[in-house]
């Protein structure tokens, strides 16, 4: 008996190896290479888990960890609810109904993303502050000032939601715009009501797209540092910085980050497991754009006001506050150099957006072409960078790149060449870091659109003898174009406002607007930070408007 059992094990191992050999092809190898390249910093951080935390770990567990976990869960919960309500409803109204200023709303709803969330946090603090804008307005009107205290946990959840909901809006809208029409018409023909169609049909079908956006929001919520520390809310990420810098234990900080990565990975796997049985491909190839509904005039204005609210709170109010501050400080802060810095920021952001989206496409399609299924889950390791605080990623980047640099110096040194650091302190390290950090931002919207392309289309193309690459360019790319463009915009905006990575890895004499804003804000010169912040917003507006036009056209 025993022998048989052993043979069985041996047999199954052998079959498994055989299957592995059968299923893996060159695409599997390519995928692994790219994942390894992009996940290297994350792996370096992950390895730290095994070396354990520093000596203050028990202190942290006793005094701090419960609060960190509790506050982080609170934020995750309330931000999810707020972001889903705002993001999905505005995406649906904008795609499904006609109302005044609809076209402007389409891109205005993306813009809250362009303001770094810590700046939104400062702006709202400024609005509700003593001697702040609300106070002034109330005094002008001779009214008693009723102060709303926004600097607490609930206020932080509001600020983060209102500045991050566009992630959900963008991915949900891409789905509604291009995938929903056939289903809508079928539902209409069957006499199903508008509401029922939305809740029973559209919402479940849009789920992968919505969740993709939501995961981005949650990752960003979990790694927010600026707003949380200003509002006095201690989260996992403020804890990472506290143990790294105040307690002088980088190993504890890295340990906390590694735990954070595990939590995020669990969230992602949980969602994948939930939808494991459902296939979200649309059966028809014709993705005609959604037909918009006309409604009564009063209804139109009602819809307008519902859609206008997130624009008002996420963009117009904070920007107005920033403009007020900019007027106060223009004389001392404004400098023509800002225009050069804007161009630099723009160039860096667009370059890294293209590079990052390119990597995301490689990962998604290589793992698709590989018949070895687990590879898809391995590919997901690459997206975890988004959940890790930028400063920690910077360490993860510096470990391997510095090792390479030192090796290069040594090797070139034997040839008598004194090269200095080749990768660190140059754009190469910075662009690599952005790709690692923002892969998720590119991967998720593309992946959720790619999911909806029925495999039978590329499959039939391949049966006809057309190669993978050609099929991709001729057939698949046009189908996922919306997702790709959304990805480019999102990465672009994220790079524009990225801070900790840029600070640590940027070359001398390259400045970004976010760095300029931070130089002021970090020293309580919030007002002075308004001018570079406004430059970020206006620079980010250009591609948002331009690419939005591309999305609509067809």
């Amino acid at each position: 008996m025993k022998q048989v059992g052993n043979r069985n094990v041996a047999f199954s191992l052998k079959t498994r190896l055989k299957r592995l050999k059968r299923d893996s092809n060159r695409w599997s190898v390519f995928t692994l290479v790219i994942v390894l390249f992009l996940a290297l910093p994350i792996i370096f951080i992950g390895v730290e888990l095994f070396s354990g935390p520093g000596e203050t770990w028990s202190h942290i567990v006793t005094y701090l960890l419960p609060e960190y976990i509790w506050n982080s869960l609170y934020l995750v919960f309330f931000c999810s609810i707020l972001v889903l309500i705002i993001g999905v409803s505005s995406a649906w109204f904008v795609s499904r109904f006609n109302f005044p200023f609809r076209k402007q709303m389409e891109w205005l709803l993306i813009l809250p993303l362009a303001i770094p969330s810590y700046i939104v946090g400062y702006a709202y603090a400024g609005i509700f502050d003593y001697g702040g804008s609300m106070d002034l307005i109330f005094r002008q009107l001779n009214l008693e000032f009723i102060r709303i205290d926004i600097m607490n946990r609930a206020g932080l959840a509001f600020v983060l939601s209102i500045s991050l909901f566009p992630y959900v809006y963008v991915s949900a809208r891409a789905f509604f715009l291009n995938q929903a029409n056939n289903l809508l018409e079928a539902s209409k023909m069957l006499g199903v009501s508008e509401q029922k169609t939305f809740f029973k049909l559209m919402l479940p079908l849009a789920r992968p797209a919505i969740v993709a956006g939501l995961i981005l929001v949650l990752m960003e919520v979990l790694n927010d540092y600026g707003a949380a520390s200003y509002y006095g809310v201690n989260t996992f990420t403020t804890g990472i910085f506290r143990s790294w810098f105040s307690l002088e234990e980088p190993e504890t900080a890295v340990y906390l980050s590694a735990l954070l990565i595990i939590i995020i990975f669990a969230l992602i796997l949980f969602e994948k497991w939930q939808v494991r049985k459902v296939k979200f491909t649309s059966s028809k190839t014709n993705n005609t754009q959604i037909q918009r509904k006309e409604s009564k005039k009063s209804m139109k204005w009602l819809i307008f006001s519902v859609v206008f609210l997130p624009v008002l709170f996420g963009f117009i109010l904070p920007v107005t506050q920033l403009i007020y501050w900019a007027v106060l400080t223009a004389a001392t802060v404004f400098d023509m150099a800002f225009i050069i810095i804007s161009l630099q920021s723009f160039g860096i952001a667009i370059t890294s957006a293209v590079i990052t989206v390119f990597f995301a496409l490689l990962l998604i399609y290589f793992s698709k072409w590989s018949s070895f299924r687990t590879i898809k889950n391995i590919a997901r390791i690459g997206v975890l960078g988004y959940a890790i605080p930028g400063a920690v990623i910077a360490i993860g980047i510096m470990i391997p790149t510095l090792a390479l640099d030192k090796w290069l110096i040594k090797t070139l040194g034997t040839f008598g060449i004194d090269s200095g650091l080749i990768i660190n302190g140059t754009l190469i390290a910075l662009l690599y870091a952005y790709a690692v950090r923002f892969l998720a931002v590119a991967y998720n919207p593309i992946d959720s659109t790619a999911l909806k392309v029925d495999n039978s289309i590329p499959d039939s193309s391949k049966i006809l003898g057309v190669g993978n690459l050609k099929t991709f360019f001729k057939i698949e790319f046009p189908l996922i174009k919306t997702g790709v463009f959304s990805a480019v915009i999102l990465v672009f905006i994220d790079v524009m406002k990225e801070l900790p990575l840029t600070l640590i890895l940027k070359p001398y004499h390259i400045d970004t607007l976010a760095v300029k804003a931070f130089e002021f804000a970090s020293d309580e010169m919030v007002m002075e930070a308004s001018i570079p912040s406004l430059f970020i917003i206006f620079t980010a507006m250009i591609p948002v408007i331009f690419l939005n036009k591309l999305l609509i056209k067809k």
Binding site: H59, Y63, L64, A125, D129, Y130, G131, M151, N152, Y230, G232, T238, R242, W244, F245, S246, L247, E248, P250, W325, L328, T332, I340, L343, Q344, G347, I348, I350, T351, A391, I395, M398, L402, K406, I409, D418, G420, L421, N424, G425, T426, L427, P500, L503, K506, P507, Y508, H509, I510, V515, F518, E519, F520, S522, D523, E524, M527, E528, I542, F546
Partner: protein, 351 residues
């Protein structure tokens, strides 16, 4: 439309790449020193510093190349770069971080008569690895209508019952609070420091949040009566572009604690030469320049810090507050006790 976009993209590429190649040239030529440079890692994000750097460039022909980030991040960066680090000078906004950099072997001792002469003993490192550049005091801002200065005396007295629900102070992750706590540990001992932290937490008007300026605003608005704040923020508020902030700052009184005893807690912004500085001579000249009269004058005039050079008078606004007695505790102690301070904060529940 398309053409414009293409043009902008192309232009920004050029700008970005152009700068990159500049950088490469300089870094490779550092050692052959065609161009004299000094690479500065600084935590001081103040605009006036740029002017000082420019004046130094003009005077010496040495180019100042700056990396701005928080001191902690810069220290981490230097540690990882090791011998290859391009950093020549590290500048921080508190003494604790400098002594931490020293402990991690990132700085080197330098011999400079100028620095030795112009900086008092307790404001520089015993091994000459770092030097204070400017001073700030941690003082009490009080509501003039509700508090008489006679009621105030020391930091230690703030735990008295009469201040229950009246004290405003920011989070314990703030370095100035950590340094204050480190000085209390050094002066009163750990046990007393812990009781002090618990007493302050019990007297807080609200859970710590916001910046030092926000604490002052909350005093004027009546949320509490006292705020423990850094002196130079008051100077900045008095000269703020926002008229509301100026009004707020004018409504508070200032008190320098512990005048009868050891003196008011001060901290410095300071600089040290990096262990592997590729341009050591330039680095020394650079720090010496920061101690020159013209640089010290800018530090105080534009940033409302107390100059360290005795021949330079503080800017009018802070001179008006009068002279005060400083705590002469060796600032090395702040670095040594920093971690202890944070642990005590956590135990006392000071967020």
């Amino acid at each position: 439309m398309k053409k414009i976009v293409v043009a902008v993209v192309a232009l920004s590429f050029l700008v970005a790449c152009g700068n990159n190649s500049n950088k490469k040239d300089n870094s490779t030529e550092n050692k052959t020193s065609k161009d004299q440079v000094v690479n500065v890692y600084t935590h001081r994000h103040y605009a006036p510093d740029q002017n000082i750097f420019k004046m130094f460039e003009k005077k010496t022909g040495i180019k100042v190349k700056v990396i701005n980030a928080s001191a902690d991040e810069l220290i981490q960066k230097m540690k990882m770069e090791g011998k290859q680090s391009p950093a020549d000078v590290l500048i921080t906004v508190d003494a604790g971080r400098l002594s931490r950099a020293k402990d991690q072997g990132l700085l080197q001792s330098i011999a400079s008569e100028i620095l030795e002469k112009s900086i008092p003993e307790y404001l520089q490192d015993v091994d000459n690895q770092w030097f204070g550049l400017t001073k700030r005091a941690r003082i009490i801002a009080f509501a003039k209508d509700r508090v008489k200065p006679e009621e105030l005396s020391t930091y230690e007295d703030l735990v008295a019952k009469k201040w229950k629900g009246k004290i405003l102070i920011r989070s314990s992750s703030n370095i100035y609070n950590q340094s204050l706590m480190a000085s209390i540990i050094a002066n009163d001992g750990e046990e007393a420091a812990k009781r002090w932290a618990e007493g302050i937490v019990a007297n807080m008007a609200r859970s710590p949040k916001g910046s030092d300026r926000d604490q002052v605003k909350a005093v004027v608005a009546g949320e509490g009566d006292l705020a423990i704040v850094n002196s130079y923020y008051i100077g900045k508020m008095l000269n703020s572009p926002d008229p509301e902030e100026v009004k707020t700052a004018k409504q508070i009184g200032l008190f320098f604690p512990n005048q009868q005893g050891r003196g008011t807690h001060i901290n410095v912004s300071g600089a040290g030469v990096a262990k592997y500085a590729p341009n050591k001579e330039n680095a020394i000249r650079f720090i010496e320049y920061l101690m020159s009269e013209e640089a010290q004058q800018i530090f105080t005039d534009a940033n409302y810090e107390y100059p360290i050079l005795e021949s330079v008078l503080p800017v009018k606004d802070i001179k008006n507050w009068g002279d005060f007695k400083e705590d002469n505790l060796g600032l090395n102690k702040l670095g040594e006790n920093n971690k202890k301070a944070v642990l005590i904060f956590d135990e006392a529940g000071w967020k």
